[in-house]
């Protein structure tokens, strides 16, 4: 099993959820993060002081899945979250040792 972690634009979350449901993926965990990279800074102004904001709001979506689904999920993420501009985000894939469902104590594939 692997964990796919996608850092995406906040405005793409709804699209992503819909796209994933289309491929029967429902389970996920999302959280708010701020990111920097190649995307331009934002300019803000407070009483004439210009503040350059280099941490842009992003959403991190974590999906744990079977090895065979990884490819499909990745391309779904890319398809629904891509605008082609810097700031679209990244996908990171991590190895995972174990998965357990708390409510039933099931392990592994059954736990998803």
């Amino acid at each position: 099993m692997q964990k796919i972690e996608a850092i995406i634009r906040p405005s793409k979350l709804e699209d992503l959820k819909a796209a994933l449901e289309n491929i029967q993926i429902r389970g996920m965990t999302a959280s708010e993060v701020k990111g920097r990279g190649l995307q331009n800074n934002q300019k803000q102004y407070y009483r004439g002081r210009e503040v350059s904001v280099d941490l842009n709001p992003k959403i991190k979506v974590e999906i744990v899945c079977h090895d065979e689904s990884v490819e499909n999920i990745i391309s779904t993420i890319i398809n629904s979250c891509r605008t082609g501009k810097h700031g679209d985000g990244k996908i990171f894939v991590y190895p995972l040792e174990r998965v357990i469902r708390i409510s039933t104590r099931e392990e592994g594939a059954a736990a998803l």
């Binding site: 709804e14 904001v53 941490l55």
Partner: protein
């Protein structure tokens, strides 16, 4: 004096003269001024002024967090621009000597001749300036109300111009029609105690037109459009309720039994409106919401506005109990049905509630409450209802046509809406370069 300084002074002096503001004695009170009435209407003006920030919070809590400053800023902009416009020209267009029953003349330009003497025609026991102030606050909130209809998408620069045009070309004449001496709706005998047609119908209808012309907010890929801060909305509703006492009771223009009566029915209808709305929700959804109660309060307040000096407390209960569910129906069914994106229900509450209130005034008005009023349908006089209907239609028609005209004209100059990308990022950042909240430690740098 240095010549440069002198030049500056001369320029300023010239500005003053151009503005045409006379240097008259404001401190001198005319005969007939009553300090109690004056105290009352001045304080009521302050209360009405507070309604617009109240509206800013009421609306502000309902938008998404990325647009909260933009909507608050629109209310502030209305306060700021109309305050100056009213002094320069607005008051004169509304309350200057009648011109063809349609608009006031220019005699009060720059408040020329408006001083401490009462205006016998409008408010004989308070300084004329107090009447000016009180009316100014009405002009401010009316245009601010409209902003709820096109929230979260209009360009700020367009809004600025819209405010100036709308208040001058729509509000000022309408105020004259209904309240100005010799205004045609007033002559006709239409009743509008505190501004049901002038304020609520005109803004509600204009909002509807504007949101139709601008089109709906982008929904694909957007976060769900749920209120970002409901306690803010509740506070806003409370301030509206509080300020509305000034709005309706102050419209008696004196600290009289009529003022007390207007206060009483205002409060009663607000309460009944909330009961009505919440009850409708409870029946249909199984749960009454806080937003529903607050919205019902506003619906009840809107409905009673034209009627506050003309109907009994029991009529106010009935009006509130009907206005609540009616507006609930408008925002939850009508809007879906006809598929317009009146973001914060400026039409659904102010338009619908205002029309209902104007007609209900025609039904429930009774001279037993106010001998200066007229009997309505229930007292056996169906005529008043027709007059009220006419006033509604005239107001709605005029407001629609003018709003279409203003916005179409503006479209020629520049797009009305922000770009899709800016809408996505939010108006706070793109229109004002600000972020409303920086709570977290991971804040901008």
């Amino acid at each position: 004096m240095k010549p440069k300084v002198k030049a500056v002074l001369l320029i300023i002096n010239a500005m003053l003269l151009t503005l045409g503001l006379p240097l008259l004695a404001c401190g001198a009170e005319g005969p007939g001024v009553d300090t109690g009435d004056t105290a009352f209407v001045i304080i009521c003006s302050a209360l009405v002024m507070l309604m617009t920030p109240g509206l800013a919070l009421f609306y502000g809590g309902m938008v998404r967090r990325k647009n909260v400053l933009s909507i608050i800023m629109q209310s502030f902009t209305a306060m700021v621009l109309v305050s100056v416009q009213w002094v320069l020209i607005g008051y004169s267009l509304g309350f200057g000597a009648d011109f063809n029953h349609l608009v006031g003349g220019l005699q009060y330009l720059g408040l020329n001749g408006v001083g401490g003497e009462p205006s016998l025609a409008y408010a004989p026991t308070i300084p004329h300036q107090v009447f000016v102030l009180f009316q100014m606050m009405f002009a401010i909130i009316t245009v601010a109300l409209i902003s709820g209809a096109f929230a979260e998408r209009m360009r700020y620069s367009i809004f600025v111009v819209f405010v100036l045009l709308w208040t001058t070309l729509v509000y000022d004449p309408l105020a004259h029609w209904v309240w100005g001496v010799d205004g045609w709706l007033r002559n006709l005998g239409a009743l509008d105690f505190a501004g049901g047609t002038v304020v609520h119908i005109s803004s509600g209808i204009s909002g509807l037109i504007a949101c139709l012309l601008l089109g709906p907010r982008k929904t694909d890929g957007a976060e769900p459009m749920v209120p970002h801060n409901l306690p803010m909305t509740m506070l806003g509703a409370a301030l509206l309720w509080f300020g509305w006492f000034g709005f309706n009771a102050g419209s008696a223009l004196g600290a009289s039994g009529l003022a007390a009566h207007a206060f009483l029915v205002t409060n009663t209808s607000a309460a009944a409106g909330a009961i009505g709305w919440a009850a409708a929700e409870w029946l249909r959804q199984g749960k009454p919401t806080a937003l529903g109660a607050a919205s019902g309060v506003v619906a009840g307040l809107v409905a009673i506005t034209p009627a506050a000096g003309f109907v009994t407390a029991s009529s106010a209960i009935v009006m509130g109990l009907l206005a609540g569910p009616l507006c609930y129906f408008a925002v939850s069914s009508l809007k879906i049905r006809f598929n317009y994106d009146d973001s914060l229900d400026a039409f659904g509450i102010h338009g619908v509630g205002g029309i209902f209130g104007a007609l209900a005034t025609g039904v429930f008005a009774t001279t037993a409450v106010n001998s200066a009023g007229v009997n309505g349908l229930l007292m056996g006089n169906p005529h008043l209802l027709w007059v009220q209907l006419l006033a509604v239609l005239a107001t709605a028609g005029f407001a629609s046509i003018m709003t279409v005209g203003i916005l179409k004209m503006l479209t020629l100059v520049a797009p009305l809406r922000v770009s899709d990308e800016d809408e996505d990022i939010g108006l706070d950042l793109t229109q004002h370069g600000e972020d409303a909240y920086n709570y977290g430690e991971v804040s901008p740098a």
